[in-house]
C-alpha cells in the first residue's frame, strides 16, 4: 500500500510537469521563426506534450492498477 502511494505520487509529479510544460512554458515556445520537422514550434510543442499525456496515463494505469 505504501509502495503504491509512492508510485502514485511519482505519477502526480509527472502530471504536474505536464501542466507546467503546457502552460507556463508556452511563452518561450511561441516563436514564429522556428519550425521543427516542418511544424511551427508552438504547435509542435503542444502536440508533443498532448501526446505524452495518454502514454503517461496508460503506464500509470498499468503500474497502479494492473501490475500489483
Amino acid at each position: 500500500m505504501e509502495g503504491k502511494r509512492k508510485v502514485e505520487k511519482m505519477f502526480m509529479a509527472i502530471a504536474t510537469l505536464i501542466w507546467v510544460m503546457l502552460s507556463a512554458v508556452l511563452p518561450l515556445v511561441n516563436r514564429p521563426d522556428v519550425y521543427v520537422f516542418g511544424i511551427p514550434l508552438l504547435w509542435f510543442w503542444v502536440l508533443l506534450w498532448v501526446f505524452v499525456v495518454p502514454v503517461v496515463l496508460s503506464i500509470a494505469y498499468y503500474v497502479l492498477e494492473v501490475a500489483p
Binding site: 502514485e8 505519477f11 502526480m12 502530471a15 505536464i18 501542466w19 503546457l22 502552460s23 507556463a24 508556452l26 511563452p27 511561441n30 516563436r31 514564429p32 519550425y35 520537422f37 516542418g38 511544424i39 511551427p40 508552438l42 504547435w43 503542444v46 502536440l47 506534450w49 498532448v50 501526446f51 499525456v53 495518454p54 503517461v56 496515463l57 496508460s58 500509470a60 494505469y61 497502479l64 492498477e65 494492473v66
Partner: protein, 475 residues
C-alpha cells in the same frame, strides 16, 4: 441525389441509435430503481464507461467548433488541445477519490456530494441550480449543431431545424425510458462513430491535400502566417489568454455535473482509471485531427461564411455524399450523445436534489424516477423552445457557463481533499467567484487578456480558504 444519399445515411444511423436506446431499456432494466436510472446501478464496465465518457464529453460543438476555430483564428485553437490533456491528467488522480466517496456514501449526483460533505441544503440546492442553469444553453446548442450538420448534409433540401428538433426528441425518448443505462449503451455506438469520423476524416483530408503536417503548415504559412503562433498582446490571440483559458477549462472540466454523472456509474476504480486513460487517447486521436481540418480548409483557400462548416464542407467537396453522410452522422452523434447526458443530468438534479432533497424528502424511489422523467420532458421542451426562439440572453449564459461552473471547483475538489474547508467558505467563495466571473465576462471581458474563469478563481479561492480557516471548528 447527393442530398438523398447523405441524408439517408444520417437518418439510418439516427434510427439505429434510437433502436439501441430503447432495446437497452427493454433488455437491461428489470426493475427501475433510482440508482439504476441515475448511475446505472454502478455496474458499468470498461468499454461502456470509456465510450460513454468520450461521447458525453465531445459535443457537436467540439466536433465542428474546433475546426472552425482553427480556420478562423489559427493557434488559439491549441487551448482546446491543451485543456483536454490537462483535464485527463487531473481526472486520473481526482475522480477515483470522488467515486470512492460516492460509492461509500450512496451519492448519486454532484449536489449530493455537497449535501454530504457540508451538511448544507442551501449549498446542495445552489449547486444543483448552477448545474441546471448553466447547462440550459448547452442543450439548446446541441440542437443548433445538429441543424448545422443537416444544413450541409442535406444540401438545403430538408427543413433542417425541424429535422434537428425531431432527432433531439427521439434521443430524449430513450433517455426518458432508460435513464443512464440507455444513454451509456447508446453512447458506445455513437462514441465509435465519432472517433472513426474525427480520426479518419481528419487524417484523410490532411494526407489528400498536403501529404502530412509539414505540407499543411507550409500552405497555411502562405495564406495566413499569423495562424502559426500567438501574435497579439491581449485578446484571444495572446499567449496569456490561451494559457489562462486552457488552465481554467482544465480545472473546470470535471466540475460539470454531467461529468460526475458519467464517473459515478463505473463499476470500480480500475474501470474508471482505465477509461480516463483511454479517453485521453480519444482526445489525441479525435479532436486534434478534427480541428486540423480547419487549417486544411484555410490552406486550400476555401472561403467559408460560417467557420464551423469547415470540416463538413471539406468532406462534401473532397469525398462526396457518402463520406459526407457518414461524417455528418458522426457530428450529429456527437451533438445528441452530449445532449442526452446534459438533459439526463438536469432532470436528475431536479428530482434528486430539488424535489427529494428539499420539497419531499420522504418521496419513494418510484416517485423520484417519475420526477426525473418529467424533468427529461421539461428540459427537452425548454431546449426545443429556445432552439426555435433563440433569445439573445442564451448566448450570455453560454459565455458565462464555463466560468460559472468552475466556481464550484473549491467546494468540489478542495472539499474532497481538505477536511477544514467549510460550507461558509465555499458559499462565500462561490458567490464572489460568480460575481467576478460575470463582471469579467461582460463588463470587462477577459480583462488584461486573462480568461474570466481565472479571474473568478483568483477571488474565489483565497476567500474560500480564508473564510474556511476562520469558521472551521474542528471535527
Amino acid at each position: 441525389m447527393e442530398a438523398f444519399i447523405a441524408s439517408s445515411i444520417i437518418l439510418v444511423i439516427l434510427a439505429v441509435t434510437f433502436i439501441i436506446g430503447v432495446l437497452a431499456y427493454k433488455l437491461r432494466i428489470k426493475v427501475l430503481r433510482v440508482d439504476t436510472y441515475m448511475v446505472a446501478g454502478r455496474t458499468l464496465g470498461f468499454l461502456v464507461t470509456f465510450l460513454n465518457m468520450a461521447a458525453v464529453i465531445y459535443s457537436g460543438f467540439a466536433f465542428l467548433g474546433a475546426s472552425g476555430w482553427a480556420y478562423a483564428f489559427g493557434a488559439p485553437v491549441l487551448y482546446i488541445w491543451i485543456y483536454g490533456a490537462l483535464a485527463y491528467t487531473f481526472a486520473f488522480f481526482f475522480t477515483p477519490r470522488i467515486w470512492g466517496v460516492a460509492k461509500g456514501q450512496g451519492l448519486l449526483t454532484q449536489a449530493d456530494f455537497f449535501m454530504w460533505r457540508y451538511g448544507s441544503k442551501l449549498l446542495m440546492v445552489l449547486t444543483a441550480l448552477v448545474g441546471i442553469t448553466f447547462n440550459i444553453p448547452y442543450g439548446q446548442l446541441q440542437i443548433l449543431t445538429t441543424k448545422y450538420v443537416l444544413d450541409l448534409a442535406t444540401y438545403g433540401v430538408l427543413p433542417t431545424l425541424h429535422v434537428a428538433v425531431l432527432s433531439f426528441i427521439l434521443t430524449m425518448v430513450y433517455v426518458f425510458l432508460g435513464g443512464m443505462v440507455s444513454v451509456a449503451i447508446t453512447n458506445v455506438f455513437l462514441g465509435i462513430i465519432m472517433l472513426a469520423a474525427m480520426l479518419g476524416g481528419g487524417l484523410s483530408l490532411i494526407a489528400y491535400y498536403f501529404g502530412g503536417l509539414p505540407g499543411l503548415f507550409k500552405a497555411v504559412e502562405g495564406v495566413k502566417p499569423q495562424h502559426a503562433y500567438l501574435w497579439a498582446a491581449v485578446g484571444r490571440n495572446s499567449v496569456q489568454w490561451v494559457i489562462t483559458a486552457a488552465v481554467g477549462c482544465g480545472l473546470g472540466f470535471w466540475v460539470w455535473p454531467q461529468l460526475a454523472q458519467i464517473v459515478f456509474p463505473a463499476k470500480d476504480v480500475k474501470v474508471l482509471r482505465r477509461s480516463i486513460a483511454m479517453t485521453s487517447w480519444y482526445h489525441v486521436l479525435g479532436i486534434i485531427w478534427a480541428s486540423l481540418t480547419g487549417l486544411v480548409a484555410l490552406g486550400i483557400g476555401m472561403k467559408l461564411t460560417v467557420a464551423d462548416h469547415a470540416f463538413l464542407a471539406l468532406i462534401r467537396d473532397t469525398f462526396g455524399p457518402v463520406a459526407l453522410g457518414f461524417i455528418g452522422a458522426a457530428g450529429m452523434a456527437a451533438a445528441l450523445s452530449s445532449a442526452a447526458g446534459i438533459i439526463l443530468t438536469q432532470a436528475i438534479l431536479l428530482s434528486r436534489n430539488i424535489y427529494q432533497g428539499c420539497l419531499k424528502p420522504a418521496a419513494s424511489e418510484r416517485e423520484v424516477v417519475l420526477i426525473s422523467r418529467i424533468g427529461v420532458v421539461i428540459f427537452t421542451l425548454v431546449s426545443v423552445i429556445l432552439a426555435y426562439t433563440a433569445p439573445a440572453y442564451i448566448v450570455y449564459l453560454l459565455l458565462v457557463g464555463y466560468t460559472g461552473i468552475t466556481q464550484m471547483f473549491p467546494g468540489w475538489v478542495l472539499g474532497s481533499i481538505c477536511r477544514w474547508i467549510t460550507k461558509e467558505g465555499v458559499l462565500a467563495g462561490l458567490v464572489v467567484g460568480l460575481i467576478v466571473g460575470v463582471l469579467t465576462c461582460f463588463v470587462w471581458p477577459d480583462y488584461l487578456g486573462i480568461h474570466s474563469i481565472i479571474w473568478g478563481l483568483i477571488f474565489n479561492l483565497p476567500i474560500t480558504l480564508l473564510v474556511s480557516k476562520l469558521t472551521y471548528r474542528g471535527g
